[in-house]
Each structure stands twice: as C-alpha cells, then as structure tokens.
Symmetry: C2
Subunit: 206 residues, 2 copies
C-alpha cells in the first residue's frame, strides 16, 4: 500500500499541476515541479513510482494525463458527499471552504443539537437537527463527516456517525476517538501543530 505521507504529497502535486494547467502548461519536467514545491527530485520520482510508470525521461510529463491518472489512483475522480457535524465557529468556516471541492468532496449539510442553529443555513448549506442525521446519511449516501463538536461530546457523536453508516471521519476535537475496525480516521490537532513549532523554536534558541 501507499504510505500516507506519499498520499499527502501527491495531493500537493495534483494541486500544483492543476494551477499549471490553468496557465496553459501542457508538458512539465520533474525539475520544474520539484523546484517550485521545494521537494528533492528523488522524492517526487519515488512518490510517483507507487502509482506506476509516467512520462519519459528527458521529455517530461503530460500535465492533463498526470492529473487524471493521479486523481483516479487516489479515488479523487468521483464526487464524495460529506457533512459537517457541529455548526460552531470552526464548522461554519469549513462549510464555506471551497478547497474541498477541489478534491471532489462536496459538503451537503451541517448538523447541530442547538435549537437556535437548527433551521438556519450557512451560504446555502442547511443546518439540520443531529436527531435526523442517520436518515440524511443513508438517503444521501454520505461517506465522510467533519467532526467539529466540543471534546466532551466527540466520542458520543462519533458513535452516532458510525452507527449511521459513516465510513470516514476528519476529527477536529482534540481527543482520541475509539472507533471500530475499518473506520478511516484522520485527526487535525492544531494545538499539537503549534506545540511542535514551539519545541523547534526552543531548540534553535538554545
């Protein structure tokens, strides 16, 4: 299988290639890509090798073909439906973020348990009552949930999502979720990102 770090870098490659495509670039060399993305050329070739043989040495890569093939191999060529659970500060920002559509992830609804929020809408995306989440997930074949509820309700809500058939969770609450086998989880922990910077800052000062 392909390492997670390679997957993440490949998404950066796709995003970069799409920007070049918009500028009308048809063929691109690995030197162009790696110098702009500040990645060693050997790393780029190694990452691509997980996906098969591309481009000819000396000729470069066809931008359209490379984008299409990488998207297909990563499963980003088909639209995936997602929901945001917890329509608070972070959830409200995420619902409006155009960056998810770039990888074919469409946020089609938000859920909350606060009666003041239920029935509102954020830029056209309705906020529903979490009581009706199971019906919504099944009816709309939702695969991914972005979990933006407070830490103390994250595990309970995660259990509701799994029971409703969600297969993948992007968790923003700074807690470790205990999930059954087969559920894909990715955690975004901003405090620990900052913590790792602070440690490096401390080390450089010493």
């Amino acid at each position: 299988n392909i390492p997670v770090e390679t997957i993440k870098r490949t998404i950066t490659y796709i995003r970069y290639l799409e920007r070049e495509k918009q500028k009308g670039v048809k063929i691109i060399s690995s030197r162009d890509i790696t110098s702009l993305l500040n990645i060693p050329p050997a790393q780029f070739r190694k990452d691509l090798s997980f996906f098969g043989e591309f481009g000819k040495r000396g000729v470069g890569y066809n931008v359209d073909i490379l984008i299409e093939t990488l998207k297909q191999l990563l499963g980003l060529d088909r639209k995936v439906k997602a929901i945001v659970v917890g329509a608070g500060r972070l959830g409200t920002a995420l619902v409006q973020y155009p960056g998810f559509l770039e990888i074919n992830v469409e946020i089609i609804g938000a859920f909350d348990n606060d009666s003041k929020k239920i029935g509102q809408s954020i830029k056209g995306i309705d906020i529903y009552d979490i009581k009706n989440i199971k019906k919504f997930i099944i009816k709309n074949n939702v695969k991914i949930a972005l979990l933006c509820v407070p830490s103390d309700s994250a595990q309970i809500v995660a259990n509701i999502l799994i029971e409703a058939g969600i297969k993948s969770i992007l968790n923003f609450a700074p807690v470790v979720l205990i999930l059954p086998e087969g559920i894909n989880i990715a955690n975004v922990d901003m405090a620990s990102e900052i913590g790792s910077i602070i440690y490096r800052m401390k080390e450089t000062v010493q």
Copy 2:
C-alpha cells in the same frame, strides 16, 4: 533531537494528564494512559525515554510532576504570543479558539488588508491593518503567526512576517511557502487530510 511525531504525541499525553489532574488523580500507570489513548504501552515508554527517566516501574507516574516536566522540556511552560493574519472565515474561528491557551499560546491580535475589517474586533481581539504588523510584532515580542490568507497572497505575507521578525508560522493556505533557513513552519492542509481518508476508503472497498 526528538522526532516531530513524538512531540505531537507528547502533547496528547499532556492534555490527557491535565484532564486526569482535574479529576483529582495523583498517580497514574502507563497502562491507564495507553489504554485510554489507544497507544501501545511500548510507544508511550519510548516517547518518554526521549525526555529522561520518569516514574518507577510498578509504582506509576506522579501526574503533577509528569505534566510540569513534559511542558518544560517542550518549552510549553512559558507564555508565547501569537497573531492571526487574515481575519476571514478561518482566522475568525482560530482567534476565538481556547485550545491554544492550553499550551500557553496567547493570540493577541489579528491582521488584515480589508478596510471593512480593520478596526473591528473578534471577542475582544482587535483587527489591525497589516501595514502596521512589523511595529506590532516587535513591540509585543510576537513569535508565532497563524497564516490564514488566500493562497495567492500567502507567500507575500509570509515574506512580510519573516522581515518583521516572526520565527514560526502555522500555515493554513494550501501552498508550499519558500522560507529562509531557521524559520519553523508547520502546514495544516485539510484537503490533503481528507484526500488520505478517501484513498484509504477506496482501498477498503476494493
């Protein structure tokens, strides 16, 4: 030096230990910690070994001492000042996030170039004109910037921050920033987090 993954896990340990401390727990075993955090005990002991000798086998760890020592070793025992640059959807959510104070990071101001936003305030944090950012960074000894501007202005704004004396950037714009040596950077790329989930989802279905 200590690997980044160990740093991030250690912040999870500190956060968990602080919750236990609030419940009045004085002594804790590595088995308690690892079962709740879903981490193999050997991983926990290996991570701690980077920081020195703790606790006695069979007796467990003193919660207060462990928290204090780990925070000190990571440099999280002293308050660090931070700013948010780009007071848009994401920046507005981050300014209000209490999770940064947990690791002694205090957001003391937000910056923007939109005249409609400058002069406003978000829950008591003022939005300043980015033109005045250098004076503010120097006067308040700001060390960290959370970069929440659109992709096409991220590099320009990062250059301004470095020139103003910022040593560390938490970058939310989905671009690769080219920075001089000695600048600590951490990137939060939510689209690539979701992309890695989608790939795993695709693999499990096959």
